[in-house]
Symmetry: C2
Subunit: 241 residues, 2 copies
């Protein structure tokens, strides 16, 4: 299907800018925190249209590589960041929406990664990481905590436990998987209509998981995490029926 | 930093279109294979500029959700596809370039997912999947095979083995991880300058892995895969030194 293209040049110029950012990051010419020149200057230096520059910026923003600041003047340039979870979550969420990636398989993947992290964490010493998880646990014990606030802390707690394994790639993927089904699980829990009961169960699960991780009981931590995620998913699945 | 934005409306309209595609995929209003209307019609129906439509299309294309065909006239609309690996690989590659996701951790993640897949595959019966892997293995045995052709078959072989576990999410992530470091490992192997020797080692590894998978010897398959990936990575790391 090589029908003559309407605007092949625009597609090419757009790729050139994205590829140059990637090459620049690899070589060290660009690094995190650097501010890119404004749209007009980029368009001139790459010899492409401002519309093409804007398309590339939007894409890199969505991938979590650039943060546009939407300002004009000398501070108008986007800043290079690295937020892999944001970019991966957005992509995963779209593919889950198209049913190409089933929720049950996302849950299985999440169990694999989180139980691996729990087992691996038991082999490391990371008192600061343990302390971070403990603080989140205690914040979730606050009386009369709102579901919204609880869910946010809950996500950070799982992430803090995964971080103990010391692999940012797996931590990022885990966070992306969780982020991609967050809405799904949260809606189902909200719909249960017995928040105080659910809250007590969630707290009990989290405390037991934390205790096993802190005691470096790898198998128990992994098994508690697995059953916690399965239980969570079953609540959601029962509600969906 | 809530400095007045230069073009907040454009950012918002752009998001609206992407979110509507996601909502449409979720509800079944859009499905894979559907052709979207052309740029002009989309701009009119969403009440946004053609430039904003084009930005959204570029983004969805990069995420592997749309395939633009660059045609004009009645067949100009993009088609909805689902190519999660393409979108995830591109995002992962950019973050590896920025050194936020180290190659060694990508390798550890790959080992976790591929060995899990090998163990899980032993619990399933999938003669068609085994046959597919066997055909790739035999194609890699062709005398005088070019490195380029071998690497392409090699990638497909690893993917075929992972597919035996029956989890497309993990298969997709595995493929994305592999894709994101493919250039890194291929360059290093090419640079070894002893292709016939490397070729024989790769073939021997693949045959041993396949035999263990076919025999449903889960632990042996997982261990062979692990040592194969570690060996491959060591070749690349030695060369980089």
């Amino acid at each position: 299907m090589t029908t003559p293209s309407e605007e092949p040049a625009s597609k090419r110029t757009y790729d050139v800018l994205v590829e140059d950012i990637e090459a620049g990051l690899r070589s060290g010419r660009f690094k995190i925190g650097d501010q890119l020149p404004g749209e007009r200057i980029l368009a001139e230096s790459y010899g492409i249209s401002r519309a093409s520059v804007r398309e590339a910026m939007r894409l890199l923003d969505a991938m979590g590589v650039l943060r546009s600041n939407n300002r004009s003047g000398p501070k108008s340039g986007a800043v290079i960041v690295s937020e892999p979870s944001a970019g991966l979550s957005a992509t995963l969420r779209l593919h889950i929406a198209s049913s190409r990636l089933p929720v049950a398989e996302i849950v299985e993947a999440r169990i694999l990664l989180e139980t691996w992290a729990a087992r691996t964490a038991a082999q490391h010493d990371d008192p600061a990481g343990i302390q971070r998880a403990r603080e989140l646990l205690e914040a979730m014990d606050a009386p009369d905590i709102e579901p919204e606030a609880f869910h946010a802390l809950d996500a950070q707690f799982h992430l803090a436990l995964s971080a103990l394994a010391g692999n940012t790639v797996i931590e990022t993927i885990m966070d992306s998987l969780r982020g991609s089904i967050r809405g799904y699980i949260k809606d189902a829990l909200d719909a249960l209509g017995e928040w105080p009961v659910v809250l007590e169960q969630l707290r009990a699960h989290h405390h037991a998981i934390f205790d096993a991780v802190e005691a470096k009981d790898a198998e128990r931590a992994a098994e508690l995490l697995r059953s916690h995620i399965v239980w969570l998913y079953e609540q959601a699945a029962n509600k969906a029926r």
